[in-house]
Symmetry: C2
Subunit: 163 residues, 2 copies
């Protein structure tokens, strides 16, 4: 599940992910391996306590979005979020998210006001946030590249010359 959150975040243009509370070196290394192979500068860390992460983020001038079925519908709020110039932290979690999170977030935002996967919610949020143009993102420094195909798996190795 955590890996799915990370891969979704990376593919849809997030700069990185912080896995709160639970150190998970296995997920860290598998996501780093993906970045090494497929490029980009996605950052990952795991372990810090969640309140600490949010406090730090806000102290650094950042803003916090919490994705939850109970929040305000994305279409009503997306313009406001896209206009944010500060760094944005998007918080997703399980059903067991503490109620306190609702007060700490600058925005509580819902994808459909229905019970929803946090991975699905994150995907839709990032897609909207990037105005549906994340297909044009580049992931520099990759060892291989997927070549879109109608009917097969086509991967091209990238030869990189380092002086």
């Amino acid at each position: 599940m955590t890996t799915h959150v990370c891969l979704t975040a990376r593919a849809l243009g997030a700069s990185g992910v912080i896995i709160a509370n639970t150190p998970d070196k296995e997920v860290e290394s598998s996501v780093r391996e993906v970045s090494k192979r497929f490029g980009g500068t996605f950052q990952i860390e795991s372990g810090p306590e969640w309140r600490h992460v949010i406090r730090n983020w806000k102290n650094g001038g950042g803003k916090v979005v919490h994705l939850t079925a109970y929040g305000m519908p994305l279409p009503k709020i997306i313009d406001e979020i896209q206009a944010v110039t500060e760094n944005l932290l998007v918080v997703v979690g399980s059903e067991k998210m503490p109620g306190e999170m609702f007060k700490l977030a600058d925005w509580n935002i819902s994808i459909t006001s229905q019970p929803m996967s946090e991975v699905g919610a994150l995907a839709v949020f990032l897609d909207w946030y990037h105005s549906h143009s994340e297909f044009d993102l580049s992931f520099p420094g990759s060892e291989m590249q997927i070549i879109p195909s109608k009917d097969s798996k086509t991967v091209k190795p990238i030869t990189q010359f380092v002086k």
Copy 2:
């Protein structure tokens, strides 16, 4: 993971889900419970062999989309998919998807040509397929309804009178 696929499919307007190969009564009943509480007519079944599902679907005149990092980019193909009048089966799976699936699908479609969660891919696909208007879907017959809120969990019980 399977539950996340189901909840994403339901929230984003799919009519139902077929979990191939592995009967899973637990996921079936938890998803049915969500539909009972939050409404709608989402169908779920589990167990049938995957080739059998696809063959049946095609024999019934339906079309098949396979979401895979290796497919054609969604933006290039979404108009074609939205114009399909036949029933649409969207296939998602893990990395271990058999190569045969690429040939059986009418379209192999990628969300970003990067390693990606199938839940995230499904979410973006359905959002685009519904022209980003799935926030207006209704889920009739619910026992409760989430009332969008800026900073709290607000759920309204729905009293239904049955003659």
